[in-house]
């Protein structure tokens, strides 16, 4: 196996080149089958089943019993591939499935997600990734525990990590369940368990190594799946094949149409989980709106720089310089999808609203719209509803109800693209949700097995036992996440934003100051983690139970409460207690220069 692994690292361009070619051949094969009359349902099943099988095979081939390979993929992942793996790790079901939908429904303020989830990488690169790589840790609590010293600091970091990542992973399993349910035509409750089995196949046997190589494969699928319908749709609407620089006309046209379709008129009916379009595409002005953008953007950026499943990807590179380079690649690969999302939202909106386009439904006779295949398909699974509230026989904007999550998945059908594209998009969405769930489950299980079990409970455990414990934890956490996801507590985007807020409330300042402030000590870090996290979580509880909002900070932005509390308490407590010992200060100096070996031993 070591032999094959060595060959894999040397032959990556060839292996993934063949894989990409194979996937494209598969898409062509599907379109041929489709034109031969194979049903849409069968095509959807084939897409999902084929891709899951590929991931499972990669997971099986990457199995390992070595600590280094299991925790940090042997620290031999080249920067470009680590960039792709991080991009897949990062772009969750929320980015793929819900982001464009959020922009479609939320307009300007929701673009804070787009800016926040990319701009956060500037923070990761400038403040953390190279230094954490130099440190040579296995997990993020490993850094906190060693930098500040003591099991209590380590334990606090583990708790914040588990809460943030667990919130996030339930949203991913929810997303994979939604997609599997639609593509395989099974109930949602079964869909999430199918998703979980697929996720565990990618991560259980090979840990970080298997997750890395499946994530690269998943990135390729998801980016092809995201870009294809946008390019197609844009071409049909006359904005060229790269619409990102040319869809300005669509923005202006929507602004023209908004008053004509009575945007903002309240719906007279309501359906659980479904929304009508009420927000204009563009900023309407005012400090409150700008403040909402700013607060959301700041939380998402700081959260990006504190989420352990992302930071731990940079532990897998061969060097500090490669870690930096791989952040640059990560952002580039992420950027390809994120700067397409607003474009997709705009083009989709235009084709539903603009009466000059054949795909328009708003303002058209109600009976004709209700009879469209895609309206019927999505209505059947309860994710869409048209209802002629005012009985005038015409579909109005406030009579078209849709679940925001489905904008991306339904777009190919709305645009009248062949069903093959819908199958492709389902496979892409599944890849996005699975890859993120993998990374998160591994982050949680590794923190519990390495930091809690090995470092705190049984430091004498041999590597075999440690790896068995890590795997058992992985399964237990996966099952627990599935059980919670089946309750469907909140929309995909909502739960994801919470994860970022939890992470930045508790971890952002202790991580940053650990590198950038030599004086920062254990007492301060513990106070920062505990107070920030408790303040943020407490505020969330307050808001969710009907408490009045402070400074218009709602449940999506509670990091804005947690972070300042964390910073102030951390600085105050640090200054009130003695500075860290000379050994720790020397360690911080060492972290700041790339040269010399890692701080922690290769295997620890």
């Amino acid at each position: 196996m070591a032999f094959l692994q060595g060959r894999l690292v040397d032959n990556l361009p060839k292996v993934y080149g063949i894989y990409t070619g194979g996937f494209i051949v598969f898409i062509i094969l599907m379109s041929i089958l489709s034109s031969l009359g194979v049903s849409a349902a069968t095509i959807g099943i084939l897409f999902v089943a084929f891709t899951i099988c590929i991931y499972a095979i990669i997971g099986w081939l990457s199995r390992t019993m070595q600590l280094d390979a299991y925790y940090v993929a042997g620290r031999e992942v080249p920067a470009v591939y680590n960039g792709m793996a991080t991009a897949a790790d990062w772009m969750s079901g929320a980015s793929f499935v819900a982001l464009a939908g959020g922009v479609y429904f939320g307009g300007y303020v929701y673009m804070a997600f787009v800016v926040g989830w990319t701009g956060g990488y500037v923070l990761v690169n400038a403040l953390l990734a190279p230094y954490l790589r130099k440190f040579g840790c296995y997990t993020v609590p490993d850094f906190i525990g060693t930098r500040y010293g003591g099991n209590l600091a380590r334990l606090c970091a583990v708790i914040v990590l588990v809460v943030a990542s667990f919130t996030y992973v339930t949203a991913q399993i929810n997303a994979s369940g939604t997609i599997a349910a639609r593509a395989l035509q099974i109930p949602f409750a079964v869909g999430i368990w199918v998703g979980l089995v697929a996720i565990l196949m990618c991560s259980m046997l090979g840990g970080m190594r298997a997750v890395t190589w499946t994530q690269v494969a998943q990135y390729i699928v998801l980016i092809i799946a995201y870009l294809t319908p946008v390019i197609w749709m844009s071409n049909v609407q006359g904005f060229g094949i790269i619409p990102h620089f040319s869809y300005g006309g669509a923005v202006h046209r929507i602004q023209e149409l908004q008053p004509l379709v009575h945007l903002g008129a309240a719906a007279t009916e309501s359906f659980k989980g479904l929304s009508t379009l009420k927000t204009p595409i563009n900023a309407t002005g005012g400090a409150l709106e700008s403040w909402k953008f700013f607060t959301l953007c700041a939380c998402m950026m700081a959260g990006t720089a504190s989420l352990p499943h992302i930071l731990m990807r940079y532990f897998t590179t061969p060097s500090v310089r490669a870690a930096r380079k791989s952040v640059a690649w990560s952002l580039f690969f992420i950027f390809l999808l994120y700067f397409t999302a607003p474009c997709l939202a705009t083009l989709t909106k235009l084709q539903l609203l603009d009466p000059n386009l054949p795909t328009a439904i708003i303002g058209k006779p109600f009976a004709a719209v209700a009879d469209l295949a895609w309206i019927k398909n999505w209505s059947a699974v309860g994710m869409l509803k048209v209802s002629d509230s005012n009985h005038d026989g015409i579909l109005q904007l406030n009579e078209f109800f849709m679940r925001p999550d489905i904008v991306v998945l339904a777009t190919p059908e709305m645009a009248g693209l062949p069903y093959v594209i819908s199958g492709l998009v389902a496979a892409g969405g599944l890849a996005a949700a699975m890859s993120t769930a993998d990374g998160l489950l591994l982050a949680i299980a590794n923190a519990l097995s390495h930091d809690l079990y090995y470092k705190m409970i049984d430091p004498n455990a041999d590597s075999r036992l440690r790896l068995i414990v890590a795997r058992i934890l992985l399964v237990i956490i996966g099952v627990a996440a599935c059980a919670i996801a089946s309750l469907q507590l909140t929309g995909i985007l909502g739960a994801v934003a919470w994860a970022f807020d939890f992470a930045c409330s508790g971890l952002f300042f202790p991580l940053i100051l650990g590198v950038w402030w030599k004086r920062a000590n254990r007492e301060g870090a513990i106070a920062g983690m505990v107070c920030g996290f408790v303040a943020g979580a407490g505020y969330l509880w307050w808001v969710e139970h009907g408490g009045a909002l402070l400074f218009a900070i709602d449940h999506l932005r509670f990091g804005m409460i947690g972070m300042p509390v964390s910073l102030v308490t951390m600085v105050a407590v640090t200054l009130m207690t003695p500075e860290p010992d000379a050994e720790t200060q020397r360690m911080v100096d060492e972290v700041r220069v790339p040269t010399g070996g890692t701080i922690l031993a290769q295997t620890h």
Binding site: F293, L331, P594
Partner: protein
């Protein structure tokens, strides 16, 4: 060791200054431009309202370039002080 310490301090001072400059530029694209999106919309940019363009696409492009530039410059600083890895 004194010389090395001095070198380290210079290396860190340069690294820190670079980081500060990068973060200032970052803040402009992350916060200042989006905050003023509505006002910027009265201007046109390649057919888009300018404020919309920056929040939807422009700032993202800036972030990608910003990281690339920072890494280039940081590598140069590391080389200058002999702090690069073997």
């Amino acid at each position: 060791m004194a010389a090395t310490d001095e070198k380290r301090q210079q290396h860190w001072a340069k690294t820190r200054n670079l980081t500060i400059v990068i973060l200032i530029i970052w803040a402009i694209f992350a916060f200042v431009l989006p905050w003023n999106a509505h006002d910027l919309n009265s201007m046109k940019f390649i057919g888009f309202p300018l404020g919309f363009y920056f929040t939807a696409q422009g700032s993202l492009i800036a972030f990608v370039l910003l990281i690339a530039i920072q890494n280039q410059m940081q590598d140069r600083i590391d080389d200058e002080f002999g702090m690069h890895e073997d």
